[in-house]
Amino acid sequence: MARYYFDHNATTPVSPEVFQAMAPLMTEVYGNPSSIHQFGQEARGVLDEARRSVAGALGAKAEEIVFTSGGTEADNLAIFGAAGHVITTTVEHPAVLQAAAQIPSATFVPVNQCGVVDPEAVRAAIRPDTRLISVMHVNNELGVIQPLAEIARIAQEAGVLMHADGVQALGKILVDVGELGVDLYSVSAHKINGPKGVGALYVRKGTELRPLLYGGPHERKLRAGTENVAGAAGFGRAAKWVREEAAAEVQRQQILRDRLEQGIRARVEGVHVNGGGAARVGNTSNLRFDGIDSEPLLIALDLKGFAVSSGSACSSGATAPSHVLAAIGLTKEQARSSVRFSLGRSNTVAQVDALIDAVVEVVARLRKLAPAYV
């Protein structure tokens, strides 16, 4: 059975060029970048090149990039590194949400029904002891883009550090940390066809942060531990793709995404676009099907070869209610009826059309079984 992947916000496959860039690091170039000898120098060269490439994709300087084990560590480094009261939103990724929950009296600013946070609400939450505002650039479930630059200006006026979780933004919209005015920005390689297990935190020059890990003086003393050179090399190559090719690819994906949404809504009644009223990235579509339980819908689509997702998974692997959909005011039932489609480089028009057919068929079957929907 052919399998089609429509879950690129969860992760993406490593692209051939990234794989190629990483291969020598597993075999020939195995030195420790901290070593003085030529083995070490080779590895150092690869790491520096990767750092420049990732910096370039963010509009940052190489020395402002701290490699981490992924987006989660980058978010944690920003939040715990700032060491003080933190303001964030109710729709963040758990990496920010759960980290912030460890900070006593952290503030969680609500969002509107499209998932967008009001910058003035963030301003109102600022306290004398506030050290950090953390707002995600693009929401992973809805694809909604936050007014980051505006919030960053508010942070700057208040003398508070501004962090953004940009894991879902890189490769989907243009990211320029200078224009955004953020001090800290988290990214992850595996969302842009790079490898899993590597990410980075942009730390604007002059920003004081405490490390999470203590040890050797790696990564300007912000992240101890021998560098994941192969991972960084893969990240660097993936970032090069973002710099050079993402803009055209994003347009292609947006056309496919719109085709998917229009195709489904033309043939199925009672379909709503969660977050549809806000500015969204081009690859994400979060659809709500009246009267449908997303769990059998997702499983039925998987059995037909289409990988999509709903909400988040709990530790057992069962679908858990989405905090994001609750935050935009959906009832439990509405949240349970929602499915996320997220497109990527491998998706084609033919795949999208096949997905539309599959959704139409499964939704019709489910509605027949549970005629609660009229």
Partner: protein, 359 residues
Amino acid sequence: MSGGVDSSVVAGLLRRDGESVIGMTMQLWNQKRIPETAAEGATGRCCSLDDVYDARHVAQLLGIPYYVVNFEDRFEQQVVKPFVDEYLAGRTPIPCTLCNNFIKFDQFLEMAEGVGAREIATGHYAQLSWNAESGRWEMRRSVDRGKDQTYFLFGLKQEQLARTRFPLGGMEKTQVRELARELGIPTAAKPDSQEICFVPNGDYAAFIEGYFREQGIAQSATSGEIVTAEGKVVGEHSGVHHFTVGQRRGLGVAAAEPLYVISTEPATRRVVIGRSDDLLRASMGVKNVNWISIAAPATSIRAEVKIRNKHLAAPATLIPAPDASRVEVRFDEPQRAVTPGQAAVFYQGELVLGGGWIE
């Protein structure tokens, strides 16, 4: 798939027969909610992560798609809440039957159809067969008498049975374990589950108290008096949910001969106690009767009736009431501890005729 031996073997057998199989585990209950019912090393805890891990491992070995589906809300509404309500109403509930009637063979069956499956197969010990003459699905006790679960399955309707398979009904448990080893199932030696899955240590009173605390319901409302059948007050108790008909322990009343709970009266919150003989009943009413292997009888029929899972089915006459959903049961010999809220299941030898709830 619970992660236990039985459902794992079912999946393995179907796979071996070349069937197209999807594995599913229902997430029913979060064990952490009522910590006082935890049991160290207990098996058959619903949805413990270890059990899900085992089920997933089996599915991976068999090479079948596998999903954990979230039934927590439905389980609480359809099983846990009625369990608590019944207990407080002085009846002794059977959550496994509620789970079979309203979750496994209802909403789960619908889930299975929703994902495109024709039938569900479970590890229940019961036998099903089609009787072309009567045009009905018939249910029989399992070959392994010790494992027979027909007492909990009396509520299944014909259209549910038509889409259900019980591949283990014709086997001894020892055969099932043998098959598990043959099929390379890693949980072949896993012990059988014993207690109600969401109360792993079997302490129902502690569960109900814990659930009350979690829901913010005040506790005092269930304590009351212990009285004799003549109405004489002989003691006090801390809550009717601590008592079930036929119970001997925990009465805290000194007497020359053993005393038992005869009934609980939730309205007055009284627990009535008496001698062993006071527990005997010659007849009982059964409501919400479901007929399986036969159509609803128009006149009296003979049957053997089970009033508890471990009860030896007792010969009786079933007299249909004018209201077709009710049956009057007259035992040949009076039976001990006829307990309202428990199921009465009607057999003719191996054949399961049907059953209902004791009034």
